[in-house]
Symmetry: C2
Subunit: 410 residues, 2 copies
Amino acid sequence: MTRIVMKFGGTSVADIDRIRNVAQRVKREVEHGNQVAVVVSAMAGVTNQLVKYCTDLSPLHDAREYDAVVATGEQVTSGLLAIALQDLGIDARSWQGWQIPLRTDRAHSKARIQEIPGAELIRRMETGQVAIVAGFQGLADDNRITTLGRGGSDTSAVALAAALKADRCDIYTDVDGVYTTDPRIVPQARKLAKITYEEMLELASVGAKVLQTRSVELAMNERVRVRVLSSFTDALPGEDTGTLVVDEDEIVEKENVAGIAYSRDDAKFTLRRVPDRPGIAACIFGALADQNVNVDMIVQNISADGTTDMTFTVGKADLPRARQALADVKGQIAYGELQEDPNVAKISVVGVGMRSHAGVANTMFRALADKAINIQVISTSEIKVSVLIAAEYTELAVRALHTAYGLDAN
Amino acid sequence: MTRIVMKFGGTSVADIDRIRNVAQRVKREVEHGNQVAVVVSAMAGVTNQLVKYCTDLSPLHDAREYDAVVATGEQVTSGLLAIALQDLGIDARSWQGWQIPLRTDRAHSKARIQEIPGAELIRRMETGQVAIVAGFQGLADDNRITTLGRGGSDTSAVALAAALKADRCDIYTDVDGVYTTDPRIVPQARKLAKITYEEMLELASVGAKVLQTRSVELAMNERVRVRVLSSFTDALPGEDTGTLVVDEDEIVEKENVAGIAYSRDDAKFTLRRVPDRPGIAACIFGALADQNVNVDMIVQNISADGTTDMTFTVGKADLPRARQALADVKGQIAYGELQEDPNVAKISVVGVGMRSHAGVANTMFRALADKAINIQVISTSEIKVSVLIAAEYTELAVRALHTAYGLDAN
C-alpha cells in the first residue's frame, strides 16, 4: 500500500472542468490502490484578486485580516474538489487548516508550520477516504488563521507528506518538470529527470517558481521524495515522469551547473553615507527584521570619510514596510540618503558540481561582460553564484549563461 | 452607552468603495459613543458564483462541502471591513463563525443557531474594539462549517444582538425600509415607519426579501428591536429613519392590511390518484422532511373513488431533492402520477388589523376575479391570506390588491 500526497496548483484547478480533471486523476490513484491526501491551491487568479482587495483598502493592512481574507481561496477549492470526487463515487472530505489543525507560528502572511497531527487523517485514509486539505493556510495559537506566504501550498503538501509518512509527494503544476532554465526565455532549455534538494532549493530561492523555497527545505530536512509533474499531460499512476527531487546520493552524473534562474521580485535599497561605526548594521537590519522584512543580498562598501554606502535587496512586496522601517530609524542612524530601485533582476547559476569545479563564477562574469551587462551586486553560496543586474537585461543574461555553461539542448 | 449591531447586506459591501463607505458609517456610530458589532454578508454576486460552482459540479452535492465553499464569501468581507476600519483608526477585528464559536445544529446549508457565547465579544467591545462577524455561517458540533440558508446573515445579526444584549439591531440594505409592497412593481407603494414582528414575519415568509424569515422570528422571540434602513442614504447616528420592527403594542394606529407580498421562489407538486388511507400524508411529508425539504402550502382534494389528489409547494431550490424523495416513495404510496409546475407565484396580503376586521379575504378574491386571475391554492393564517396563481400574473395581481386595500400613496 503506497501512501501519497498529491498537490495541485492554481492553474490545475482554475475552473470547474479542471477541477473535474483533477478529481479523475485522484480517482486513478485511489483505484491504483493508493492511500491519497490532496493539497489544493486557490483557483488561478483568485488569490491575486483577494490580495488586491486588501492592498487597495490599505497598503499597510493588518496581516491577520489579510490572512483571513486570502485563505478563503483554498477553502473554496478544497470543498469543490471534495464534491467532484464524491460525484465520481470516491469518499472524500475537505479539511481547513484550523480543522486539522495545522499549527503554525503567529508570523501572519508568512507563517511557519509547527505541527500537523496526522493520526485522524491516516485513520480515515486507511478506510479509503481521500483527505482534501486546503493548502497555504494554518492556525496560530491565538485561534486565528495564518497563511504561509505565496506558493505556500507546496509547503503544506510536503509538511503533510512528512506528517502522514507518505511515500511520495507529487506536486502537479503547469510545467512538466524542472528545467535547466525558464523555457519561455530559452527554448533550448532541457528538462531534468532528477535534481538534488540543494539545487532545487537554490533554484526556488532565486525565482524558478516551480516549488516554494520552504517546501524544498522541508523536503530536504524530512527526506520527503518530491516529484514535480504536469497536471495537463496524461501520466498513469506509477509511470516515471516529471522531475524527481531527491538526495544527492541518488544522482550519479552530476553536472557543474544544473540550471540558471532569475528573479524580478526584489528591490534594491542603497543607504548613502551611513556612519561607519559598530552596531550600525545591526540597527538597520534589526529594524527591518522587526517589521518581518527579509533582506537578501547585502553589500557594504569600504569606508571612506567615516561613512559607508550600504546596499541590500528586499522582496518587492515588503517595499512599503521596509521604506517605513528605514525612515523610522533615520534619526538614530543619521544616514545621508535612501535610494530605492525596483528595476533590478537577480540571475543565478546553480549546481552541486560547483563544489568540486573551479572557474564557475568566472565563466559567469565573462559571459555577462561579453554582453556588456553591468553587475551591481554579487553573492555566492556553496552551490550558487548570484548577481544583481538591471531588470531590462534579464532575458539576455539568462540566454548567454545557458549557452556559456553548455546547457542548451542539441 | 448604547450597544448596537449593524448588519450590511451584499449590495452594501459590493466593492472596495462601498466597504469603505460602510467603514465610515461604522466609524460614525463608534464616535457617537456606541459599542458596535457588525455583521457582514458576502460581496454581491459572490455567493451566487460559489453556489453555481457547487451545483455545476454536482446537483446533489454534499451540503457539508457546499457550506465550506459558500461560507468563504462572508469571511472575505469580514476581513476586508476590519482592514478598512483599521485604516480609519478604529480598532476592529474579524470573527468567523468557528472562532466565536457561533454554534449551530448539523442541518448543513440551512442550519439553526443554537448558542452564541457573547462574553469575549462584549469584553472587547467595552474596550472600544469593533467586532466584525462573518454572517451566514456557524460551527456544528462535528467541527465543520455550517451555513444558515440564503439571507442567513440577518439571522446572524439578530442572534448576535440577542447574545450581546444589544439595544438595537440595524439592518442596512439596498432599500430604505419596509414598503406596503415592492415599489418596483407598484410605484405608489408607501414606506412604513413601523411594522409589527408578526406582520414582518408574514411578509418575509412570502417573499418581501427585506429580512429573512428566521431573523424576524428570532427578533420576536428575543424581543430584539430591529431597524431596516438603507446603506446608501446618509442618516446620522440616532436619526429616525428606515422602518422599525417592533411589538404590536408600540403601534397605535393599525391598518387592516399592512402590505402585499409576492414570491416566485416556490414550485408546485401535484400527486394524482393517491390512495386515500390513513398515514399517506405522513408518509409523503415524512419522506420530504427526511431530505430537509420544507413544504409550504398543502391542499388535499376531497376523495372520490378511494383516491385523492394532493397539491403542495416547496422551495425551488429543493426541487431536485423533493422530486427524488417522491420518486423513492412511489413504491410505498402507489400514487398515479407526479406533476410539477415551477411557474407559480404566491401572493399574500398581511396585516394584524385583519384579526378584528372581516371581509379581508373576500376583498382579495374579488379583486383577483375582476382581473380574471385564477386562484390555484389558498392558505390563510391569523394575519395573512395567501393565494397561489400562475407566475405570469404576479405584477397584475400585486397592483390590483394594493389598490383594492387602499394602500396607494396619494
